[in-house]
Amino acid sequence: MSVSTQIPSFQNFKKIKESELLIRLQQGDEAAFKHLVNTHKDQVYNTCLGFLRNHHDAEDIAQEVFMKVYDSIGDFREDAALSTWIYRIAVTKSLEQIRYRKRQKRSGFFKAISSFFGNEGAEEVDGSNFMHPGLELENKERAGILFGEIEKLTEKQRTAFTLQKVEGLSYQEVADVMKMSVPAVESLLYRARENLKKQLHDYYQQNEMD
């Protein structure tokens, strides 16, 4: 009778410690990778969606995040939690995508088309149609306005605000992802809120005048 070396199923991994999961991932264990993806896919997708405000882009970038995890799991050192590391990749990839969009917007062809149709930018047009699926119906319109204003914040403020508000991370978790101290994150979030207040004030003032 042969002894079968079965790969543990996804459910069997539930009680496995992170360090053990890491060892299996670094050995190229497919079941471990599947478990990792299924555990973190929603957190990654939601983070990307919070930044990109586009379902298709969020799905693409979420896949890229896990491809990066798959390729670089060997380089991962346990100085941070696995989920923190994955968040970092998700944030970096999302910001890269936003920068790529902006570059495209600046390029002549897109600029010409954009100005021809009288649009300021493709990103803003996409964002105005975006509705986050996790929002309550009564908040959808307001959230759309808020998302539009979040885009005008600096990258750091935007990152801290998105991670805290959309993904619901604590100050400590945001600090870990952004490799900052908790007071620095508190300060970032305070400034983000103040800027948003000003921007929203201008927005409503302008809309009232119109």
Binding site: Y45, L135, K197
Partner: protein, 111 residues
């Protein structure tokens, strides 16, 4: 005054619009799509040797086409020259075979 208060109220409400947001979820086929993408990425790219072979092959193909073109021009030139001479020979041979007279004879007699 009332308008300012109204705006401030709107700003506060909007700032809290994301307070009870729920996490967006992907569908159940996310892993399958990811797996397909990883497999696609891992497909071996063309090795250096086959790239070099591909370049050599394309150069050889261009050279061959050039040779064929030059050869066809040369052969066509020769063929037209022999064709013209063979037409003349053919007329003479036809006249001899069927014992035909020179047609210019009748024109000359008419005059």
């Amino acid at each position: 005054m009332g308008s300012k208060k109204h705006i401030e109220h709107e700003v506060e409400k909007t700032l809290h619009a994301l307070d009870r947001i729920e996490r967006a979820q992907t569908d159940d086929f996310f892993y399958s799509r990811l797996q397909a993408k990883i497999e696609q990425q891992n497909e071996p790219a063309l090795p250096q040797q086959s790239r070099e072979f591909g370049f050599a092959f394309s150069v050889a193909a261009v050279v061959l086409i050039l040779i064929l073109n030059v050869a066809s021009i040369y052969i066509h030139g020769n063929y037209t020259a022999t064709e013209e001479s063979s037409v003349v020979n053919y007329e003479e041979q036809l006249m001899a075979d069927y014992q035909l007279f020179d047609l210019s004879y009748y024109t000359q007699t008419e005059e």
